[in-house]
């Protein structure tokens, strides 16, 4: 199986320099559908799904490999090698910000700059560090996911497929949006919310832009500022956009902040 099939890699755009977009926990490469097209004129854009999400090959899922963010970073490096990426821009959302940090440490020549959207170095509070969540709350989330995926992935898609008047709805939903294998999603949630990347941040050498949303309950402004202080020479931009997914809720603001950086 090729890397490109395994991770459902899609390459578009005409530019010389490549821009690779990595989605976070909860969705797939559709996360970038309002942002990536804006860069197709000046960049070669690369989108992919993490194994377990979207159109990736579920049979490639290896619980041991993907029990840490490092396993996901290895995949990013493999995709980069497969495409011969050099000096590319890595754009990561949420947990994939840290996947990008790890990938840039594993393959320094591959990514010459990083854009981290809503990053968090660690979600669980630890002493003076305020990640925003307690261990118990993360356990609750894992249980919660279980309750929701039951009606979500297996049953919702066929119900909409049955909408004979608008078949394109079912078609698009089942093929794309945020489709995640429930068991893998739970693993990914555990890996995401129990990760701790604080010690990796200071090793980053690539110029880094941090996009921080207002009122983001997943990654607070405090956390964004911590990431900025820890990555040498990094730049923090606080967006007017609220929530955790400015790439969907305020794509224009994200695009212009990214343009100013690259």
């Amino acid at each position: 199986m090729t890397v490109s099939v395994r991770n459902n890699v899609h390459v578009k755009g005409t530019g010389e320099r490549a821009m690779l977009f990595a989605h976070g926990f909860g969705c797939d490469q559709n996360m970038w559908r309002f942002v990536a097209p804006a860069f197709e004129k000046d960049f070669k854009t690369v989108l992919f799904d993490h194994v377990g999400a979207g159109g990736s090959d579920l049979s490639a899922y290896d619980p041991a490999k993907y029990s840490t963010l490092s396993g996901y970073a290895d995949d990013v490096v493999e995709i980069g090698r497969d495409l011969g990426l050099q000096g590319a821009v890595f754009v990561g959302h949420s947990v994939s910000s840290m996947v990008g940090v790890l990938a840039s440490l594993k393959a320094p020549a591959m990514f010459s700059s990083l854009v981290l959207v809503g990053p968090s170095a660690r979600y669980i509070d630890d002493g003076d560090y305020k990640g925003g969540f307690s261990e118990k709350q993360i356990d609750e989330l894992l249980e919660f996911l279980e309750a929701n995926h039951m009606g979500w992935s297996a049953q919702m898609a066929p119900a909409i497929m049955g909408n004979a008047d608008r078949p394109e709805l079912g078609e698009e939903l089942t093929n794309s949006f945020c489709r995640t294998d429930p068991d893998i999603a739970r693993d990914f949630a555990r890996v995401t919310f129990t990760s701790d990347s604080r010690l990796d941040l200071s090793k980053v050498t690539a110029p880094t832009l941090i996009l921080q949303c207002s009122e983001d309950i997943i990654a607070s402004t405090e956390v964004g500022e911590y990431v900025q202080r820890s990555i040498p020479g990094s730049k923090l931009v606080v967006l007017a956009a609220t929530g955790h997914c400015p790439n969907l809720s305020a794509p224009d603001e994200v695009i212009s902040a990214m343009r100013a950086f690259v």
Binding site: L141, F144, N148, Q155, C245
Partner: protein, 392 residues
């Protein structure tokens, strides 16, 4: 699609359709609907909420306006909403049947099912989000039970797998032990046999000679048992029955020797033999000897003691045939299927019971020679027949 009569206006169906005197109060429908209504700004802030929902929460509607949806949800619900639901809503414009927990003013959880649609402007930008919430306490409890049942069956299966694996390992160890034991038993047996032969060289009285002969035949029988154990253990350990074929040397004398040994061991039993082996038989001679020894041993144990056991072997029309027959009670129908299974033992006195490996090993030897071992049993006789093609 065929249109349903249900949707046709009543005026088309009846001359004087009844008209209702009650007019639906839309304001009241919104406020006191049997479900909660919530309208959000694109930023996630609540700008309208109905009375039903505010009653559930335990706050006046105007106290909820300006708050965020997050403020009504459990922490896990907030995280799920931000990572899954908000993106989905933005991408496809709606979501259905999402399980959420509202946290009431008293701090209690209220399980709900949420559906939502996003209102958009001409450019596709979000204007607002409308959310409908239905109470789902019972449903959630039932789903929880389903999940618990699934988890229980998963852990039961995992436990079963582990114990199966342990059993396999133990059983392999046991078979290795049997193989080693069988091998080690041969040496002392050889000493006993040699000792008996040495003693027989010097003149003995009749009683002493009889005892020594009996010792020799016992050694022969025990060697046979050990061979069976070793073959069985080897078969289980993946070695199978190994052959060293030899078409040059005659098979007849080997068969004759087996018969002679058994006659000597059981002088009061009659064994009639008839060997007509004209063509060379490409077989492992000691294995065929083991096969016939096992079949004869079986016939002598289970056959009527006052009737002869007959053994016949021939080469005819390219086939080597060997059969052993005995009189006595037929093999019960129910036992037929398991006859060649290892450790199967028929109804005999405990003192006569073997390991139940004899017929199993015999059938394994038959298979290794690309031959067949079959049985026919009636009130007249029970006959085991081994057939093997000569060409191989």
């Amino acid at each position: 699609m065929k249109s349903s009569r249900r949707c046709a206006p009543l005026s088309e169906m009846m001359q004087n359709p009844p008209s209702s005197s009650i007019i639906e109060d839309l304001e009241d429908l919104y406020e006191n609907a049997p479900c909660g209504y919530l309208s959000l700004e694109p930023s996630g802030r609540i700008f309208k909420v109905n009375r039903t929902l505010s009653n559930w929460i335990g706050c006046a509607p105007d106290q909820l306006v300006g708050k965020r949806l997050h403020d009504l949800l459990s922490i896990a619900g907030r995280m799920f909403y931000e990572t899954h639901i908000a993106p989905l809503l933005r991408m496809q414009g709606f979501f259905n049947e999402v399980a959420l927990d509202l946290i009431t003013e008293k701090g209690e959880r209220l399980p709900v099912i949420a559906n939502a649609t996003e209102r958009r402007d001409a450019e596709g930008r979000a204007i607002s989000t409308r959310i409908t919430l239905l109470k789902a306490t019972d449903r959630r409890r039932y789903e929880r039970q389903l999940l618990d049942a699934r988890d229980q069956s998963r852990s039961a299966e995992a436990a079963a797998q582990i114990s199966l694996q342990n059993e396999r390992e133990t059983s392999e160890l046991r078979e290795q032990f049997i193989a080693v034991l069988g091998h080690d038993l041969r040496n002392p047996l050889a000493s006993i046999s040699a000792g008996a032969r040495i003693l027989l060289r010097t003149p003995k009285n009749e009683a002493e000679t009889r005892v020594l002969r009996m010792m020799e035949t016992t050694v022969v029988r025990m060697s046979g048992l050990i061979d069976d154990i070793l073959d069985f253990a080897r078969g289980r350990l993946g070695g199978g029955v190994t052959l060293s074929r030899d078409a040059e040397r005659a098979l007849g004398p080997v068969l004759q020797q087996v018969v002679d040994e058994l006659r000597a061991a059981m002088p009061d039993r009659k064994i009639e033999s008839d060997f007509q082996i004209a063509d060379p038989v490409n077989c492992d001679r000691s294995r065929i000897g083991q096969l016939v020894s096992n079949l004869l041993g079986n016939a002598l144990t289970h056959g009527a003691s006052d009737k002869p056991v007959r053994v016949f072997a021939s080469t005819d029309h390219g086939v080597f045939e060997l059969w052993v027959a005995n009189a006595g009670d037929p093999i019960p129908e129910a036992a037929m299927d398991q006859l060649f299974q290892p450790f199967f033992r028929g109804q005999v006195r405990t003192s006569e019971q073997g390991l139940g490996l004899g017929l199993h090993i015999a059938s394994e030897i038959a298979k290794a020679h690309e031959g067949t071992l079959t049985v026919k049993s009636s009130a007249d006789e029970t006959r085991f027949t081994f057939l093997m093609p000569l060409r191989s």
